[in-house]
Symmetry: D2
Subunit: 356 residues, 4 copies
């Protein structure tokens, strides 16, 4: 089903932006795994974002475990987390019900659900649902770390400002994660400029999964690319993904793009990593590297042209409510969460291949 | 499972590059649908490619229906198509068994399957499997056309040579599908130059789904982006995908990237189509547009550095066998097939929402 | 995943008997369907049972909708219902942690989850989870009724006391649903006798789905028998299921067991209904009929032999806590709920076969 | 999809009774497993049946592996087996197209597929498909045996003749597998009597899975009962299933039906096995025991009442063609195959719970 993800685990997201709560149920997590709820709260706080760059709506999310956890340790049964919606202001959206906001799912949801969708704040299509995604992915991140697998990411670009240098642990740990802090400052300025203009900007996020052993992932439709892409496109606003050398790699020759194999300390490694750590859908043992394109936030202050669905005529609207001038910073932990779900799922699948 | 795709239909691909056959089983196709097998053969022939640009291995694929079709009409039961492997030359690959080819799945498959994989020609990870994908997708393309939905594509770039202009029916119908025929010629020369150099090139394919009504696709993980990406990454060599304005769109401001709605002939349309016909995972009624990055063929003639897996030492190899200097032209129908599977699957799902 | 069910819809159950709550998420319900929550409460109350025949634990379940419902109408997005656990007394079970109760899942859960399961009251394996099942199935029952499909059931036997006569609407509507009220009284006495003896009894439930049109269900593994069986065995304590003439039918000759077809008011009907309304997994248009065997409640007051898992030695236990002398009456709505989920799922699948 | 089964493995059956072939694709079998094709042929021959008791149609099935097997060892990729249909005589069935045979799926398939189904011999609903089921299950049986798990079965009854005694390896190995050979002879006579009368008989099969360790299977919908039932109802003609004490157990008291635990050679065992080796859906370590009811073959020689679907009027038919007076003996290996698929699937799932 469309709000679920996974083959060897399954996460199901539920909730509407302005309903009582959002949340998730995560099945397939083995019993006996400690979950650090404080760390999970910090991870959720990263998604809530820094006040000046993000929406004025406060989302201090404290995960309420309804099932599957006992004394902080998984029972092996479905883990359900509820995140209450606070500070809900449905009124802001009521007038927009028949006047879909450009770039949002308002119109397509209205067609699909024949007007019965919850229109407030995008309903089930809202970015608010990524809090539930982060609750699930945050748990998987903790489990991956115990296996020596780390998921890191940085902001590669905001609008037309690009980062320089390499993704490092240090860069990933920054509040505004870029390799080059100056460029990070320039990006923040880009965001604030857009904000002042009542406009918005997009950007690109890079994510690396380090420590994943070779042999994880499956052929054809179960490849790591397929799995990660399916998860990452679950984040509203993602419009592109590329692995390793990606689109740029398509301009190279094979002799340039191929990664030579060589032995290093008894391990097979590749000289470069144009493959992004994936060949034939299966991990090579090198870092899995991908980049995701985030569109500029569709909510902007400027007057926009749209239609009135009941009257069937052209109208203009001005979006009030609260909105982010740039969701890229808040999307960073979401991308990590999606990647963690995909990789942990593939890793569980790998266990089925164990020799007796 | 990893060799299967779909939620409302399910296609399962089977076979190895140099085994007896490749093939597929396609479940979920309603009964009573005529399948034009001659048209399917022509579609499979597009994948086989023009002799001068592609591998010397001849793949004249004639689909053998084992089940589900009676007098050319679907029975509603699983459709199984077998495509015999002809002209198999396993000897070419035997020496490479322990010496994985850079850029191929040889190494990752050896780790995953602990040496039990079929190494000849990439086994199940071979591009040969796309013949089975095209058999399934080709049937879906025919069914989509009956509903007024057409899937068109073109080559946007080969190496560093880019197409100009728009994707049209005419462009898509060309043997080498580009909008600008001169640029198409330049691309072919790029491929032949790479071939002469014993090297290879990659490229980018653009695909449009036209005539898809608004309201198809699902929220979160069942979005059209998620579905199409999961299918398209099932084609070996695809390393990136973007929808609508994609990566370039991430550099725009919201005011530029948002598509205004307006009424046109009683229909809601958008002025531009930066969204690539998808908002919140659901179709807008505008053409669904995506681009896929194809890496340069990893098989090249030059000597390459790799390792000997049994000896655990660095060695060099030279790939003989047959290989394409550029798989982009042959990947075009594969991308269409993958898109058709994804869209037809979503369309079947849409039927479940029908009002009583 | 094991706590989920369905192909065209998906229900996921979560919770532990003595955790904060049990609940469910139901995906795939079309938008725009009114849900009568009062009726749902009444249905849940049927599962809670009449005080004298059931556990002293009060389970007045009021479904709390966390998502998917707006003004009592489905949004088309996941429906999540939370049912708080009240009157939780974990202490009763603590001493039994290492001493599995015969006939319960205590031992098998301890092995499976390596001691990390929630042992209180059976944890996720508790009959308490059927409240969540009934919340999901109760919604499906309402939707089925709108399509003219009714799910009725009765108690066929309790211990060695059997009902007489036919399942009618009237019989199904009784608080203790039997065709013959005298036999119903005798069954209740059987239950009370077992209760007085500190023992328990089992029984058999018969269920009919009326008004289901012909053509619903699928071949082989997707047959109505497969679907209903998979759902009904999700109720703890069910150990057998049979359709139509079932086990008794296996003693008949084909000439006796075959149901002749004949025209009646322009409809194809069968003279008898030994097939239980299902041929080849697909509905015939006659009532779908099945019976499910419920084992005697494993919780009894008598001293029982078991083992101490940590000491690895034989011990005896005496179960205190609260328990039903017979779960058959409370299992009746659970069987209806399971059947409703299975049938509504199959019915949604049928919509995909619609002709253009 | 309905012709597929499994969660951790997936088998897909394809084919029609009188089409070119039936077959199956089996995904999820780990690499490196030897498959003994001669043993598989012998297993398929058991399904083909002894000439005097079964259909005159000869089905010497030799599995043709299209993929996934190399030098008799699994590659880890999808295993596809094709079983050619020989001795096909469609003519026998042509006249029956609009005149559905009582007790067969002819009518329900005609409604479901709107006349486009393959009517010959039942098409995809034919018992012929169990050859493909046995090919898949036969492979799983071999893999289970390597893990010390054996699947045994016997005929418990044919018509009104019942077996006596216990299911033993010796009994299971008999051509007509009963514990008491005299009763076996009486059953065969029952079958021959039915045959002479142009009639048919049904029966009951008992199946045991021995050597399955405790802890396999999952809660709620993923229980061993749910899994086995879903698989076994995939065999045409099965109308009931019960586990352990089953329907008879529902007449016992809890004190009689509960299986006491005790230590034996350092292992937890149960004194009796009323649970059929399953508590809470999870294996106890005792043999998993179930019985399946097989209806009398619907094909009989006597004139039968049916309808003409195009004319909409009552008619009588007489079935010529070939048919078994009793499918019970041939269903025995089918039940074993279904059980093996279910158990191997659950066992693969168990691997995911392994501690790091």
């Amino acid at each position: 089903m469309s709000s679920s993800y996974g083959e060897n685990l399954e996460v199901t997201l539920f909730g509407e932006s302005h309903g009582p709560a959002v949340g998730m149920t995560l099945q397939g997590i083995p019993a006996g795994e400690a979950v650090d709820t404080e760390e999970l709260c910090r991870f959720l706080a990263r998604r809530s974002g820094a006040p000046e760059l993000s929406t004025a709506r406060r989302e201090e999310d404290v995960p309420e475990f309804m099932s599957g956890l006992r004394d902080g340790v998984t029972c092996g049964t479905p883990l359900t987390v509820v995140l209450r919606n606070r500070d809900v202001r449905s009124g802001d959206y009521e007038e927009l019900k028949n006047r879909p906001r450009p770039g949002h799912a308002d119109y397509t949801a209205a067609v699909k659900y024949r007007g019965f969708q919850d229109p407030a704040g995008g309903g089930h299509a809202s970015g608010r649902l990524t809090a539930a995604l982060c609750a699930a992915g945050g748990i998987c991140l903790q489990l991956l770390r115990k296996e020596g697998i780390r998921v890191l990411s940085r902001i590669v670009s905001v609008g037309t400002v690009s980062d320089r240098g390499e993704l490092t642990e240090e860069a990933a740990a920054r509040p505004f994660p870029t390799a080059d802090e100056e460029r990070g400052s320039a990006m923040r300025e880009e965001i604030l400029r857009a904000k002042e203009a009542g406009d918005s900007v997009g950007g690109v996020i890079e994510c690396e999964i380090r420590g994943l052993p070779a042999g994880v992932g499956d052929p054809i439709f179960g490849g790591l690319e397929n799995r990660i892409a399916r998860a990452v496109f679950g984040i509203p606003g993602i419009k592109g993904i590329e692995f390793g050398s990606g689109f740029a790699g398509s301009t190279l020759r094979g002799s340039e793009n191929n990664d030579s194999f060589r032995m290093e300390d008894g391990q097979v490694v590749t000289a470069a990593n144009h493959a992004g750590g994936i060949l034939g859908g299966i991990s090579t043992g090198m870092p899995v590297v991908f980049r995701a394109a985030v569109k500029p936030t569709p909510s902007i202050s400027a007057e926009q042209e749209t239609v009135d669905l009941s009257a069937g005529e052209n109208v203009t609207i001005r979006i009030r409510g609260r909105h982010d001038p740039c969701i890229v910073p808040r999307a960073v932990p979401c991308v990590e969460a999606a990647a963690a779900l995909a990789v942990f799922d593939a890793l569980l699948g790998r266990r089925k291949e164990t020799v007796r």
